[in-house]
Amino acid sequence: MATTTVSRGVAARPSSKRSSRIGRDIVSKLGVTGLGLLMLAVFLLPLAYVLSTAFKLDTQVTTPGAPLYPAAPATYTYEGQEYPLYDVPTEDGGTRRLAVVNPYRETSDVVDPAQPELGVFNIQGRWRTWEAVYSFSPEWENFSTAWRQVRFLRLFRNSLLLAGISTIGTLIACILVAYGFTRFQLPGRNILFIILISTIVLPPQATIIPLYIFFSKLGWAGTWLPLLVPGFFANAYDVFLLRQYFASIPRELDEAAMIDGANPLRILISIIIPQALPAITAVTIFHFFFVWNQYFEPLVYLLGKDWLYPISVGIGAYVTTFQNYPGRSAATAVMAMALPAIMFFLAQRQFMQGVVVTGVEK
């Protein structure tokens, strides 16, 4: 009944209905996209802030009324000397851009850059009330200072090594374990898998004291070993992701290889791994980022050994000592996030797909 009414209505006024629908379509497209841009602007405000601040001198950050972009007070060179520029209000309500040569309390000696041939002349008005003119001028000083002071290359190398080695270990272990969970009938396999998944709940605080004592006893405190070795024993998230993917690879392929006399390890290497490259890529990126971002464990195991610090602990320690230098702090933040951000832009598809697998198919 309802359908017939609608279709009759459409048939009665075909052209006007269609044009109004297109019009409504454009309005809703613009409306939704506009809303999206507004939300995105709020969301990316912190990023804009940090990028801008990293290129600013600290004096600009703390000067009220200074522009939000990196800028320096604009100057005008008159007879070999630089003078600051101000927008001076005129009687007709407009402004006149003048370089202040000698600022006094009630009057000032100024030069007009538009008419330098007039020379220096004196005008009425308090220069402190005039608005300073700024020009865009990014400063690299924060980066060079922070780079030197945090010894960024050393931190970067440490993070790269830690994340790289740990990722290799995790890949080997998690691929083996995921393969074991997908292709072999074991008594109690499902219970083991439930135990594995439930370790996601386990807070790191519940195990860190015994692990710290244990690793200290082995003489590993103050080395990278406590951070690297556990990576070689598989973790729930990555095994889960790989298992979901392995399970979707048809068994006929491994059965054919088995008849040809290939052993399970051979099947894993020559059949499963080549088929599962997207999932393996996702695990690689996830684990690399996980180690790159780790803060609590390196802090506990490496305390005081600053030559072994990864980026996270290194800049964390630096920023707490240099709280009052917003420019340098921002520069360290930019340096710490540069590699993850670049990697994300390069591999965003694998990244988001991996997230979906762990989150939706559970």
């Binding site: 009938q185 370790t199 807070p203 024993f233 710490a336 951000a341």
Partner: protein, 321 residues
């Protein structure tokens, strides 16, 4: 005669099958071994050891040998009752969780609905940019928020002032707002939740919406009677992860307010109290009690969630596992 033949035929077959199965089991076990060893060495035994230490007066400065562990019974647990920090810090963590968990669902869901809209131009650009803050290391994110939420020069307060708010919050220097500022920092990294919810939204069959529209259901009705039930498993997953992470949270607080949880203890999260007792003061025995509490609270919260949550979750396939 026939019985003998049967035995002759079946016996080798049976043993061949079981030999094959046995070989398969051996291989399977070999592949699971890395995790099984790791589970015992780095998870199960340490947890049991944490419980053991909680009944001793062990401190990290002592040599690690049997004689260093003096049993003190429930002394560490009794100390909990007189600890002036334990209860307030649990309050800080609970407040963070109670604000952060709903926020951690509503904001990513709104963003997921936005980037799922068929009216949005260039949705992939939006998805990438909304995800971007998620890949920023926590330490960098904390530095960024410490700046952007600065009471005077921070861009958020400059914006609020421009919008007419005469006295915007002083965020990290105000005990009332400091915790909420860290909720904002956490919600900034909404990428994973957004992507998972988005996949959930896209898996809802469009016929359901069409049928409901024909029956006269408006957008709001469709959202609450179709979308929410259909994506409830994904919502449940996000809430569970949110609960687990909320009870572990403290690293940004350590960077902002140090081990005293400044301003005025407003950032003294329960895991920070644990970190201070264990690795700053070396009170391993008492810290083990705090660790056990984090463990039990997390388990209880996820347990309750599963007990009550599973009833509210709708599984389209009928699979409850």
């Amino acid at each position: 005669m026939s019985a003998v033949t049967n035995d002759l035929v079946s016996a080798p077959t049976r043993s061949r099958i079981s030999a094959h199965t046995r070989r398969q089991r051996t291989w399977g076990l070999m592949f699971l071994l890395p995790w099984i060893i790791g589970f015992f060495a780095f998870q199960l035994l340490p947890i049991l050891f944490t419980v053991f230490i909680s009944f001793t007066d062990y401190t990290a400065t002592r040599e690690f040998k049997w004689g260093s562990f003096n049993f003190v019974g429930f002394e560490n647990y009794q100390r909990l009752l007189t600890d002036p920090v334990a209860l307030p810090s649990m309050g800080v963590t609970l407040k963070f969780a109670l604000i952060g968990i709903p926020l951690g669902l509503i904001v990513p869901l709104s963003v997921a609905l936005l980037v799922n809209s068929k009216h949005l131009i260039a949705p992939n650009v939006f998805r990438t940019l909304f995800y971007l803050p998620t890949v920023i290391p926590v330490v960098a994110g904390t530095i960024i928020f410490n700046g952007v939420l600065n009471a005077q020069s921070g861009w958020l307060n400059l914006t609020l002032k421009a919008l007419g708010v005469t006295e915007p919050p002083r965020w990290f220097t105000d005990p009332v707002w400091a915790g909420f500022a860290l909720n904002l920092l956490t919600i900034w990294a909404l990428g994973n939740a957004m992507v998972i919810l988005l996949a959930g939204l896209q898996s809802v069959p469009t016929e359901l919406y069409e049928a409901a529209t024909v029956d006269g259901a408006g957008p709001v009705t469709r959202f609450f009677y179709i979308t929410i039930p259909m994506i409830s498993p994904v919502i449940f997953y996000n809430v569970t992860i949110g609960v687990i992470l909320a009870f572990q949270f403290f690293v940004p607080a350590l960077l902002i307010g140090g081990t005293n949880g400044n301003p005025q203890g407003a950032l003294m999260f329960f895991p920070m109290h644990f970190y201070r007792e264990s690795f700053v003061y070396s009170h391993m025995g008492y810290a083990a009690v705090l660790a056990a509490i984090i463990f039990v609270v997390t388990m209880a919260a996820t347990g309750l969630l599963f007990y009550f949550g599973q009833r509210l979750v709708y599984y389209a396939s009928g699979d409850m596992s």
